[in-house]
Symmetry: C2
Amino acid sequence: MRGQPGRTVTSRVLALLDAFSPASPALTLSELARRAGLPLSTVHRRVAELLAWGALERGGDGRYRIGLRLWEVGSLAPRGLGLREVALPVMEDLYEVTHENVQLAVRQGLELVFIERIAGRRAVPVRTRVGGRFALHATGVGLVLLAHAPAEVQERVLAGPLERYTALTVTDPGRLRRCLAEVRRVGYAVSDRQVTMDALSVAAPVRAPEGVVAALSLVVAHDRADPVALAPLVQAAGRVLSRALGGTPR
Amino acid sequence: MRGQPGRTVTSRVLALLDAFSPASPALTLSELARRAGLPLSTVHRRVAELLAWGALERGGDGRYRIGLRLWEVGSLAPRGLGLREVALPVMEDLYEVTHENVQLAVRQGLELVFIERIAGRRAVPVRTRVGGRFALHATGVGLVLLAHAPAEVQERVLAGPLERYTALTVTDPGRLRRCLAEVRRVGYAVSDRQVTMDALSVAAPVRAPEGVVAALSLVVAHDRADPVALAPLVQAAGRVLSRALGGTPR
DNA sequence: CACCCGTCTTCCACTGGACGGAAGGCGTGG
DNA sequence: CCACGCCTTCCGTCCAGTGGAAGACGGGTG
């Protein structure tokens, strides 16, 4: 094309979707154009089509938002709602026993995505959002997912910058590597104040026939936490879920 | 273009997404091509790009499924996860009080889409799926949404074929019209065995500043149902939710 | 009121991304 | 062995897409 030869129409449409984020779920046409790096007239045309189909919706304020039709299609993702449907009963059981925050996440590239969470009203407040992303190297679920990720993924995470969230976040590649080996050995992960100074999480893997596909965790206040007591509960829930997915829990 | 001049690239990409449905969430390349009505080579090219972005994923069986990235973007839909986040606590309260199925739906065109449901283990089994669609003229939520839909939408639904699910489904346009007027008057809808012969649902509107945006309902076994007793509960929940959305509940 | 600023919408002549038929590889099973 | 369905790649043609420019719109300011 004229502006940026080599850029396909499809990639431009996808760039428009990329422009939306949890932090900015409503955008004007101009904002959309700037974020996607496309001329206004181009965006105007493409957006009209997305609007007609229902991928985008336009509010009374003139801003564009993600449309329900796209949510509907997204709900067909096996690793999204599909996984959630199977996991929810197990997560609820875990919640009933502990009355603590229960989280379910999968790995997407070099980050994790939260698929579902049950936030206990009496439990520690956690700032995770369903559909939100987070780094792999700090949380309990992240450590489990990273420990069972392909070697290539692990290397890229270990090589890349490891953001420090608290004084206890493991940012040394060597230590993180040993940490992951330990997670594989014992079959669960503990993240003690590595994300915030008030929370501790214990996570276990969820296995399908193709390997570890998700991670389940409990997030509790660190001062009333007993990882050794919580681990068997989370692991048991992970096994139940693994079996439901046709996997072979260890 | 050559095959079907007038068809845009974007519409073709969207047609590929349309090919997926709850009944067939995993498709081969050929199936995808047939469903979208596009040549195989065209689909092959477009799908490769969707795969790279994460809109689609490919399983070990070679079939394509909706990818997590699309689920993630879809989760930004205000009428999808956004609404669910606000509604869930209210729905849980309603469930705690009744221990019956609680459902939340919005209107999308001439149908409704289920946004969330809480299925009581002891409650009547309902075959609704989160992300699934249904006709507007039979269910409790549907009647509420239809009763408060723009006149143009109502006319099109009344004109179109009204599928009969049971002997009690209202399929006469005149009767349905009176039914909708009654729903508006009393502020709630009752669907007594109009979908299945074992279930009854009571639904109430959810109002945001722009009008009725969703409907909340209880679905119970018809033989132990007392609509008059349930209505106030559902209406109260609807009002709480309306207020949370900045609406003015009546 | 006139002015400016940012936003949105529409128009049009050019061009390169998209097209799709065809041919080739791959696995299955009759 | 061949036939069948599926997937992948190639290449010459051509129309959908492009983006600058011009104009409408809307709100805030002097």
